[in-house]
Structures are given as C-alpha cells and as structure tokens.
Symmetry: C2
Subunit: 436 residues, 2 copies
C-alpha cells in the first residue's frame, strides 16, 4: 500500500540482508509473502504489556539503551536527553471505492466521498488527533487529489490535523504540492501536514511521464526542493527532474512555520537514513509481519539523525498500521477479514504475493503481529507494547479502509477509537515532567 | 486581470485592427489605457433599459439580427432557433490579500481565506448561482490553488456552483487539473466547473519553466488534452508540452458528465474563435471600456460555433465584470474607488497603463461603461442593457475584490446582490416558453 514500496522490496531485501547478515534462506528470500520480510529478518522482541508507562525517546545514537518507564524515567540518569512523547492517534484513508458487502450495492463516488467526510468529522468530534488521505491514480481509490478532500474536511472540523498519507512526491511538482498544502494550512488554521513518499503503486510513473529508473533520484530531488520552498519564499534551485527556480516566490505562505513535512517509508533502509539525516519526522508503513522487528530500521533513522546533529525531539517516529475496532475482538476480526482478504489478494496478483488465508490473518492480529484489530482494550495494549518495542511512537494511524467496510461500521470503529482506545492509550502514556 | 491577457494585447490589437479595419490612430494604438482598447474599436451601441425582457440567443450566424424581447420573442419568426436564457449571477474572487483601509490592520492570510469562505457561504445562502476563484502566483493574491479553496467552500454550501476563474491551464498539467476538479465535483455533488484560460499575469511561466513564446501552443494543446480526459477515462494523446498518454486511466471520474469546461478570454479574437469552434461556453473578462463593444468578438464566437455545427444552446456567453453593490450608488462608488485606483495603479506599473483617475472611474461606471457599481436598481438596469447589447448573457460574475474592501462591506454587497439585484434581473428575464 502507500509507503510499502513493495516493488522495491527485492533490492531493499538485499540491503537489509547485508545490514543484518540475514541468511539467504530467510523468509522473504524464497518468494514468501514480502510483507513479512522485514519482520522476519531481525530477532524476536518479547512483547509485554505496559499500561501506565510514559515512554520516552531513547537517546539518539544509543539505540540499544533500555527504555525507561513511567515516573522512574524522570530519574533515569542513563538517559542524557529525555523527551516525553504524547502519542497522537488517528486514521488514514485511501478513499477506497466501496461496494457494500451487506447490501451488494455499490456506492457512487460522490456518496463515498461524502461518507468519508462524515468519517473525518466524526474523528474530529471524538477527539482523534489526525486524519490522513492517501494518493493513488487507480480506479479503486478516489484519492488522486488529497488536498482537495482535506480542504473539504478542514471546513467541517475544528481540531484534527489533516495530512496526506502519502503525497506521491516523486510524481508531483513540489511547487504545486507546497501551494496546495499551504492553502490547506491557512483554511484549517494551521492543521495541515505533508507526508511525502515515493508511493508503493507504480501507476504514477507512466501517467506523469516518469521513468521507474529514476525512482530514487526523483524523490530525493523533489524532497530537497520541497524543503527549500518551505524554508524560503523566494527559491533558487536547480535539478534534473524539474525546471530550475531562479528566485521566484512561492505563495501563499502557510500559517505554520515550518509546515510539518514527514517522510513516509516502507522497508527501505536508505529511506530511514535519509529521513534521519534530514531531521524530518518519519511515518513507517507496517502492513504485515511484526512491528517490533522494525526497531533496527528505526534505530538507523535515529542514529542518522543524531549523526547529522538533529535534536531528538525532531526525530519523531509514526506508524501507519492496518487496524479496525469493534465492540468485541471477534466481531472486529470477523467484520474486517473478508474485505481485507479481498484487497490483499487483488494487490497480491500484481505483486506476486501468496494468497491471504484466515490463519495468516489471525496470526497477524495476534499479540506481536502488525494488525491492530480488536476491541479497544486489546488494541490499546498492543499499541503500548509496540510503543515500547520501537522506543517511543509519536503518532499511530489506523488504515481501516483496506477492508472497504460499510459506512456505519467505519463510524462505529472511529467512535470506539476516539472515545475508548485513545483515552486508554493517553492515560497510560500520561505526561511526566522531563527528567533530568 | 484574469483572462485580460493584456500582455498579448498588442498582437490582439493588431488582429482586431485587421478584423474591423480600425485606423492606426485609434485609442490604444498610441499607448492609451489598454483596457479601453477593444471597447474603442467598434461602433457605439446605443444602450436602452429593458426591464421585462427575456433575451434569447440570436441565431448563430446571424449576429446582426434584432434581439427579441419578452413574450414577443416567443413568436419571433425571424429567429429559426430560439433559446431562452436564464442568467446566472455570481461572484469571482482572487482572494486578494487585504489591509483593512478603515483600521489600517493587515488581515493574516488565514483570516482572509476564512473571510472568503464566509463570503462564499453567504453567496450560497442568498441564492447566488456561482462563485469563482482565480489563480495567481503572486504575493498579493492567496489563490494559487483554487480547487483547494473551492473544496472548503463546497463543504460549507449547498447549491452554489463552484468554478475556477480562471485555471491558468497553459501552466498546469491537465491530468492534475481534471483530477482536482473531478474530486471537487464529487465532494460538491455535481457543482464544479472549470474556466480554463491563459492567464493575464505572466508569473506562471518562469515558475513552471515555460516559455512565453509558447503562449498560444501551450494553451491550445492543454485544452485539447483536458477535453480528451473529460470525454475518455482512458486517454491516448501526445503533444509537445506534456508527456504522452498511452491509455492510462484518469481518476476519479466526476459526477457531472460532462464536467462543464468554459474558455476564459480577454480581447484576443482568435480565442473567441477557438472557443466557438470547440463548442465550449465562453467567459469574457471585461474590466474596462464599454461591454457592448465586445459584440463583434462575441459574434465571432457564435459564428465560429455555428460553422463548426454546434447547437446554439451550447454557445453560452458569460461575463466576468468588475462591480460592487451598496445601498446607494454614491456609497458604492465612494467605497469602491480608493481600492480600485490602488489596484489598477499597481498593475498599471507593470503594464504601462496611465494613472487611474476618479473622472475615468466615474465615466466607466456610467450607463455604457464596464464597471457595474451602484445600488441594486442601477446595476440591474445596466446588466439588462448589456445583456441586450451582447445578444444574451448566460452568466455574469462580479469581481468585487479588486478594491480589497473590508469583509463587512463585501458581505453587505453579496447580500444586496443576492436578495435585491439577482431577483430584479431574474424577474425581468422571466422564462418564456421556447418560441417556434
């Protein structure tokens, strides 16, 4: 999905093998489901439930440092820099076109987008922190113009932050992207964010006349330009993939200074290092396998950031996860599975994945798996566990749309997320004074 | 301003001279205010007030035909094709950055955009038909991303149509433009429109790496592609200024089929002919001079449309006019003038216009001049006169923002426009059955 960058997984895989000295016969190297590849390459982290811990960033550059919990952390002298992390909780949507599985009726695109706006409004009303809209250029998604959807959402909401998830920056003009999100930022009174990524689907390339061979240089160059535009109204810049700017002004300027720009990544180590080196917050898409196994990659990010001299509070890590909430865990799983299997089997046809099975699904929604599916209590505990395992998570977004569920079920899930789960997580991660 | 295409006026002027055999010493050829150029090149039409007329399109190809009025028109046998035209009335805005002249305070961009959204919401509430947002890439305007502003407006309105005014298509990718407006169309339940133009400011060219030498071919080619995308989900197309499409799908598809696409023009005869030949509705920017003098250019459009075989009801003409309403005509003029003079003097510095004077302003708001400034009765009568003179106007939009007026005065003007002027005009142009 977004940020999964699965079509680059084979080369990423090779890089990871070198990095972690994974044997050639490890899962993923022989055609196994690539989603579990990263998760299978590093040692298993034993999860535990932490219900009243305020987890702090470990000191950059000391990734293996033991994590401090709760009030004990305030006096944790082994941590020279201590940053208290509240966790933002939100939702990402790709505005999937939906056929209602209960009625068989296909929603019109207009009905679907209006339902999506209802969902964002509800997410705001129940106090969720952030709502993201993806970018795709395919018939099954209605999100080719995320800032347009987000602007409508801005007019219907008060507090929730509004972000792309992700902007496929490689295929876009950073000037237009900045203009659109600066406008969104003004309209929303400072609630806009950009998550910039390379995208995991490849349809943008032929659509915008780009070459897949330029996959990496397109992103690197456009991210560089986007950051220059953020820092300067008048921009001097030249590159390979976009006409040069010789001091032109880019307007309007956003309300937030700086406008938040995250880097959205899948499993490519170089992407983690790039984000860290630039001191940009990181959104990691974890759509399969076991989240705690991403720790070495996240440590790569934090190390690269520290090496480049960035303050630890700048090096925030967020997760984009597949998840769904219902009143009971069984109900959540049974509701979510059919649509999930359908979506992953469809994408799997393009990517050579093995067929999704219920057993695999059930395993992945187990205590250490990536799927955040269940009742509020179950999922809250799992989030706290992942938070511990990854050294502190600043944002967690639920991608609930892969299952193309009926509107009412999505609304109920959002309600549970806001009124039950978020408060459980917030209570457990209650802020403590910075320890010194 | 938009669609004014003033920097091409000299070549347009040469074309018009050839077309209408205007002597070389006519106004405009010697450095006079270019805004009055077109208006000074054709014979004066004697205006008259028509208070209860339903004006119909004259037969295409017979532009000099006498216009029929009211119920008499139903039996006007000299008109083989008779199309009853209700007139849509609306507002265009460029989201000008505003310093409040009464308080001296500069609005923040966020305040200004939120005021603009209030204005659009009020325009909807008082029953206006359409609201347009321009596109500029300059510090004095906040409208570089019109679909983003319009999407926020869509969420706050129910009935009003939402359009660009204009989309600077020459500098844009028609794929992105279509995606954005299709998304807006879905969000607004079928209220989106595009007015595509070349823009009258030139700052888009260096910003997007384009050459002014390609001014015309850029627009022609991109309009061709935009129309192809409107007609086909999967597009095969190649051109000079954008990578080829070889059957890629463009999503989402809009609710309206076809999504309305107008051509926005200034005074360039070739632009009128192009729009007519393509059978596209026409928005004419008349920001100075005398509107009735555009009749020969509009006839060019209608003739070209008829020659290309387009039905007369497709060949709609709209006007983008500078105007402002207040409770009395003196109040409207005195309120509007200072900001108007400031704006035109600033633009005039770039374009070599003579300094704006109050005498010139007062003349231009006279019975035959282009400025629609006054109380509702005065302006309604003027609109009916212009409607007669130009052979039937399908849409008239007021550009009230050139004067960068305080929010409350804009709100009052919108209220008068919707509750007084629009009903006067609608009553006068009451629909009659199609004559045969």
């Amino acid at each position: 999905m977004i940020k999964g960058e699965s079509h680059r997984f084979l080369s990423a895989w090779s890089a990871i093998r070198k990095l972690f000295k994974v044997p050639i016969n490890a899962p993923g190297s022989n055609g196994e489901d690539q989603r579990t590849l990263v998760a299978s390459t590093v040692p298993l982290f034993e999860p535990f439930i932490c219900r009243s811990a305020s987890v702090r960033h470990p000191t950059p550059g000391i990734p293996k440092q033991r994590i401090s919990h709760g009030k004990q952390a305030a006096s944790a002298s082994q941590s020279p820099v201590s940053v208290t992390l509240p966790m933002q909780i939100g939702i990402d949507s790709f505005a999937a076109a939906i056929s209602d599985p209960t009625t068989g009726a296909t929603l019109t695109p207009a009905e679907r987008l209006n339902h999506l706006l209802d969902e964002i409004e509800l997410a705001d009303n129940v106090g969720l922190d952030v709502f993201g809209i993806g970018e795709h250029h395919r018939p099954e998604f209605l999100d080719s113009a995320p800032p347009v959807i987000l602007a409508a959402a801005a007019a219907r909401t008060k507090n929730i932050r509004l972000t792309s998830a992700v902007t496929v920056l490689s295929a876009a003009d950073p000037v237009r992207v900045f203009q659109e999100f600066a406008t969104l930022d003004l309209i929303s009174n400072g609630r806009a964010e950009i998550v910039a990524g390379r995208g995991s689907f490849v349809e943008s390339y032929p659509l915008f006349g780009l070459q897949l061979d330029d996959y990496d240089s397109l992103f690197a160059e456009k991210l560089d330009l986007l950051l220059k535009i953020r820092d300067n109204t008048h921009v001097h810049w030249s590159g390979q993939h976009r006409p040069a700017l010789t001091g032109q002004g880019i307007y309007p300027r956003p309300l937030q200074n700086p406008l938040p720009i995250w880097v959205g990544v899948g499993g490519t180590p170089a992407s983690f290092v790039r984000a860290g080196t630039l001191g940009l917050p990181l959104m990691v898409a974890i759509i399969g396998g076991e989240p705690h196994r991403f720790r070495p990659l996240i440590d790569l990010y934090r190390k690269a950031g520290a090496r480049a001299g960035h303050a630890p509070e700048k090096l925030k890590v967020g997760l984009h996860s597949i998840g769904f909430l219902a009143d009971t865990t069984d109900q959540a799983a049974d509701t979510f599975y059919p649509g999930y299997a359908h979506t992953f089997n469809e994408i799997g046809k393009e990517r050579g994945w093995s067929k999704t099975t219920r057993a695999q699904f059930d395993a992945t929604r187990g205590p250490t798996g990536a799927l955040l599916i269940g009742d509020a209590q179950t999922v809250a505990e799992k989030i706290l566990s992942v938070n511990e395992a990854l050294g502190g998570i600043a944002r967690l977004t639920f991608q609930m749309g892969v299952s193309t569920l009926p509107h009412q079920k999505m609304m109920r899930a959002i309600e549970i997320l806001g009124t039950q789960l978020a408060s459980m997580v917030r209570k457990s991660l209650a802020t403590v004074p910075d320890g010194t």
